[in-house]
């Protein structure tokens, strides 16, 4: 019931990502400057864009929760932020590997793009802690939604400010200052971005279906057994 359309979505995701990475390795030319190591771009940048969009989506879901007081919106925000955090870990690690290969350093503290992404990641690392620190479910959901809205608004502002800042080393992917990308590279990048976005939506639906199924089993257990174990323990995750 909750996983409706999940199989089609999963197949579409697998097809798109496979096509994207096949194009990356067998069709797209090597970058003139960086050579083969630039292939990391097709993984790292879509992951970063989707992670940031996921954080913003979490903010929108949080706003919907504050507006409607419906716990399902809080769950949607929680799952979106949780998945974006996982992608953000991937962005930091793959970015660091790319930096080592291209620039000879694992990390550059004077590079605004890197540091700003780390700040966003650390900001969202407090989301789970905030949730866990509040025992009352209603307050937990409300405070978490306020956090999601504020942090979600911070993400695009932060991104815009960094793009306006003077670049030191990190390239501006979709900017025109460096002349943009050739057609093959742009097409491959867009397919990789679509694949990553589909992966995010698939995993989001999958986790939502899983959490809804757990909630239904707990409700049944409570109804059938009158079981105290059915009540969730103190947790950062929302319960329906």
């Amino acid at each position: 019931m909750h996983g409706k359309g999940l199989r089609t979505l999963a197949l579409l995701t697998a097809l798109t990502l496979t096509a994207a990475y096949a194009l990356v390795f067998f069709w797209t030319p090597n970058d003139a400057d960086q050579g083969f190591v630039q292939k990391i771009f097709y993984l790292h940048v879509p992951m970063a864009i989707v992670a940031l969009c996921g954080f913003v989506a979490g903010g929108i879901f949080g706003a919907m929760h504050l507006r409607t007081r419906d716990g399902r919106w809080d769950l949607r925000a929680y799952v979106a932020i949780h998945l974006s955090q996982i992608l953000a870990v991937g962005v930091l690690v793959t970015g660091s590997i790319w930096a080592k290969g291209a620039w000879g350093h694992w990390w550059l503290w004077d590079e605004p793009m890197l540091v700003s992404f780390l700040i966003v990641f650390l900001l969202y690392a407090t989301y789970q802690v905030l949730r866990f620190s509040i025992e009352d479910r209603e307050r937990q959901a409300r405070y978490a939604s306020v956090f999601a809205v504020l942090a979600g608004a911070f993400v695009p502002i932060n991104f815009a400010v960094v793009r306006m800042a003077e670049s030191y080393v990190h390239p501006r992917t979709l900017g025109t200052t460096t002349g943009g990308m050739p057609g093959e590279m742009m097409l491959t990048f867009l397919i990789a971005l679509a694949g990553m976005a589909l992966l995010f939506v698939t995993l989001w639906k999958y986790e939502m279906a899983s959490k809804n199924a757990v909630a239904e089993v707990r409700a049944l257990r409570l109804r059938l057994l009158g079981d105290d174990d059915a009540l969730p323990r103190r947790t950062a995750a929302p319960t329906l």
């Binding site: 067998f26 083969f36 899983s210 057994l225 079981d227």
Partner: protein, 66 residues
Amino acid sequence: MPALPLDEAGKYVAAAFLVFLALLLIYVAIMAGRLSRLERELGELHEALDRRDAGHDPARDREHVA
């Protein structure tokens, strides 16, 4: 099919894609753990229903045990 270049850059590209794969696999493993817990809970519910159909009230049984 062109062979992948096995120079210095190849190691970094392989490492980045392996990180992505590892993250996906860890996520799937965690979700599989949750699914098996859910299956166990469903099994307990089925047993409770079977006992109820056989004439026992599972909720009352629990009270007796307590």
